[in-house]
Amino acid sequence: MNLPFLFRRARSRLNPESVLSFVFMLFLAYVVVLPLFVMVRETFIVHPMERFQIPGSKAGDYTLAHWLKVLTGELAWGAFYKPLINTLIVSSLISFLSLLIGGGLAWLVVRTDLPWKKLVSNLAIIPYIMPSWSLALAWITLFKNQRVGGSLGLFEYLTGISLPNWFSYGMFPIVITLSLHYFPFSFMLIGGALRNIDSQLEESAELLGANRQQILRKIVFPLVAPIIFSSFLLTFSRGIGTFGTPAFLGGPVRFYMLSTMLYANIVGQRPGLGYIITLVMILFGALVLYMDQRMLGERKSFVTISGKGGMSAPFHLGSARTVVTLSVLVFLFLVTVIPFFILAIESFMLFPGNYSLSNLSLHYWIGPASQTIGIGSSEAGILRNAAILKALWNSVQLGILVALICGIGGSLIGYTIVRTRGTWKCSLLDQLSFIPYLIPSIGFGAIFLALFAVPRGPIPSLYGTLTLLVLAASVKYLPYSTRAGKGAILQIGPELEEAAIMSGAPWVTRIGRIIFPLQKAAFFSGLLLPFISAMRELSLVVLLATPGTDLATTITVKFTDRGWYPYTNGIMVLIVLTILLITAVSRKLMKTDLAKGIGG
């Protein structure tokens, strides 16, 4: 196809999407593809601090030393293989448990005559919008024992029973708390799939003489099996990249996972080793998602949304109804309300470990900096502590900026993908925008550290700026926003825009008067998820934040490291309150539905 230049230019005026796809491809290549190459290179060069560990080398030399050390060195077992195995075990277990809890709840809500379904659905989403390690902190507060040192946990205070280490720290609590954080994900995915099964499929089986159990086993389960597998894999991939929980619960007993090992290496000035671990994480993340794509790609058409036919009659819980309802509510209460109160209580106790009424104090909220009161941290109370307030403000800023960038960027990329469908531009852009999804969070942070710690071309070093955090978070959350944007645009038939083209409306007018007004609600929903994600993010930003750009989340790591839990817990309470408040407000004002956005 050899068309004269003028002609091509004339046609491109009709296609702003061609221009957009070009711009986005360039941007994504720079922030997604280039970093991968940079990081691979980083694993082969000697960094300034590493030249002492590698005899006879100088900074910038090429070396295989990092790889040899990780794979065959004498510390390889403890520093790489063991954390790797831990990571795989923990990720498998949390995927399995989340599936069990989330799938079970989904079935109860969608397919049975469980009462208060709306309440159950709403409560079941809450663990997911809270910071992932808030349950870990609550666990520590509740179950910490004195063997590792420090103050008494609430449980030991009340019962006098000293809990064993395996219960208080390490793999067991990590698996439990992360499962309780991730199960809403399975809940929403499987719930959505169950809801979309056309009742006619089940009715046909019923008419052919199948009983309820046979229908469940032979029709319903096979239909949702791909989604079940998919939610298992997606949880697994998230488990690999999570940092906060393993750091807080694993640290005290030296239980390491890849994420905590990666952090230790980067912080300990061994970036070569850190980046190798990052690559391993990405490898596993990509593998898992490749399997998922294969699975869904082949069988995607299983669950179809057909407006026809209602849902088949709900399964009657019968005499078990009361017991089941009660258990579900108690369970949800235990994983949402109780942890929050435990965190709150801790922040009002002057001396940790003493839960008597006389110990109640507002010191950690509004007290002055002091070396003698309470734990004597010489930090001012949360509400008058400049560093903490700055971190909170940074978090809010980050949330707003990331929401705007993701909302607008995701919508535009989604628009471009849908409008260029069937061309190489579409598939390339689609895949590029999906890559950040493959990369476990903390690994993604490490990549951005590698890329932007030094000036590169026209772009100055961004390390130590909020811009770097905004950029990293925006790109990382872009796949979700793009997906939402794609979905929204797909619902608008191309004719609606073509009719406007025929009327002579230029692109900006078409977006402003047709596309945006039609998908306003979806757009505003799309803002909420990146905001919440940014507010509660730790794994992604823990390597990128500096004292000047500390976030509410990263600053808690510092307080936790020093054992100053009242501050940590108080800050967590503030983060959770902010998230809940924003969610509630946007639900009221903009009728946003979070459940729709998270199902990615």
Binding site: M1, R13, G493, E495, L496, A499, A500, I501, L518
Partner: protein
């Protein structure tokens, strides 16, 4: 008002040529229908006339005296500047705008004065009998009303050419009939050139002045509707047009000792009521419309013995599916002959409007 010319237009998607070296000249003021099964390239052709799509392997498109697209001369006129209106299959009414706002949209883009917009919208609304609906939203309208709004939105721009993409396919059967009459009236009232895409042959036959039958991106026939029905240019057109489907019998052409001709297939000889100027002993396909056949009592001289396979009453007529040895044929009768399955009857070719196609599938008689 203007005619439309398409010259050697080719549009391919990947390796598939959706529209293949397509040339067509639609005269000014015609009601031209692009007719064909789904996937034949008719909608793509319409979209290329509109400018929403363009030929990618050469071709020229002219509207009136204006070249709006040419690969060779590097011409591309923006859809909005081609002075044509397109009514989409789904109507594509903007659901968030009222009927008035939908119709006024294009005029607002042109930055017309408010009073002028008001006047023109109201004029077109009354022409299409939707004057009372201007304040409503599309979702509050019936299918037929939405259809009128979609047409009004296009007509208000006073296009020289009106393009309609399967506009009646979303309506129920009764409404479709009414809208056909309205469209035909609209054509005479506005006098504009209309290009109409449909897969419904009844629509094409009843509405158009010209029909272009398309198949696999190629033009099969371009003629007046009755011409297409009576003299289909090839087997595809013959098979596609007409309800019930034409009976096609592929056999060998032979001559009898008395000088008459017959077509032989599987031991059955179909006598042909015509003289042929061609040599015999060649492969040919005989096309018989159901109404060109009649049922006779069995054993009637000159008729072929047949067995009734099934009887399909259709109101004013009956379609009888019969079996002559292993050959199935459909016959139309206009009275209830009280036939039962497996009745023994005879069939006879009753008119001389038979069609004969050569081995290439082209009509030669």
């Amino acid at each position: 008002m203007s005619g439309i010319r398409l010259l050697g237009v080719t549009r391919s998607f990947g390796s598939v040529r959706a529209v293949d070296d397509f040339t067509l000249e639609i005269p000014n003021g015609a009601f031209a229908t692009l007719l064909g099964p789904s996937g034949c390239g008719k909608t793509t052709t319409l979209r290329m006339i509109a400018g929403l799509d363009s030929p990618n392997e050469g071709g020229e498109i002219w509207i009136g005296e204006r070249c709006v697209f040419s690969t060779e001369k590097a011409v591309f006129v923006h859809p909005a500047k081609r002075k044509l209106g397109l009514v989409f299959q789904s109507y594509a009414l903007w659901p968030h705008l009222t009927v008035f706002e939908n119709i006024a949209f294009g005029l607002q883009i042109q930055k017309l004065a408010k009073s002028a917009i008001q006047r023109r919208v109201e004029a077109i609304a009354s022409l299409l009998h939707i004057g009372e609906l201007l304040g409503r939203y599309p979702s509050e309208l019936s299918g037929g009303q939405q259809q009128r709004v979609a047409i009004a939105r296009v007509l208000v721009m006073e296009p020289e050419v009106l393009l309609l993409d399967e506009p009646l396919s979303n309506l129920d059967a009764k409404l479709r009939m009414d809208m056909r009459a309205e469209l035909k009236r609209l054509h005479t009232e506005t006098g504009s050139t209309i290009v109409y895409v449909t897969h419904d042959q009844m629509e094409a036959l009843t509405l158009s002045t010209h029909v272009a039958v398309m198949h696999k991106g190629k033009l099969q026939q371009w003629a007046a509707p009755m011409e297409v029905y009576n003299r289909p240019a090839n087997l595809f057109t013959a098979d596609f047009i007409g309800n019930p489907r034409i009976n096609l019998i592929e056999g060998i052409l032979r001559s009898a000792p008395d000088g008459s001709f017959y077509l032989e297939k599987e031991g059955v000889a179909f006598p042909l009521p015509v003289r042929l100027p061609v040599s015999t002993q060649v492969k040919a396909t005989l096309g018989l419309r159901a109404e060109d056949l009649e049922i006779t009592p069995s054993q009637t001289p000159g008729s072929l013995p047949a067995t009734v396979y099934s009887v399909l009453p259709a109101g004013a007529e009956w379609y009888i599916r019969v079996q002559v040895k292993d050959i199935f044929l459909t016959v139309t009768t206009y009275q209830d002959m009280g036939l039962q399955n497996d009745s023994k009857v005879g069939i006879r070719i009753k008119s001389d409007r038979i069609k004969l196609f050569d081995s290439e599938g082209n009509l030669f008689l």
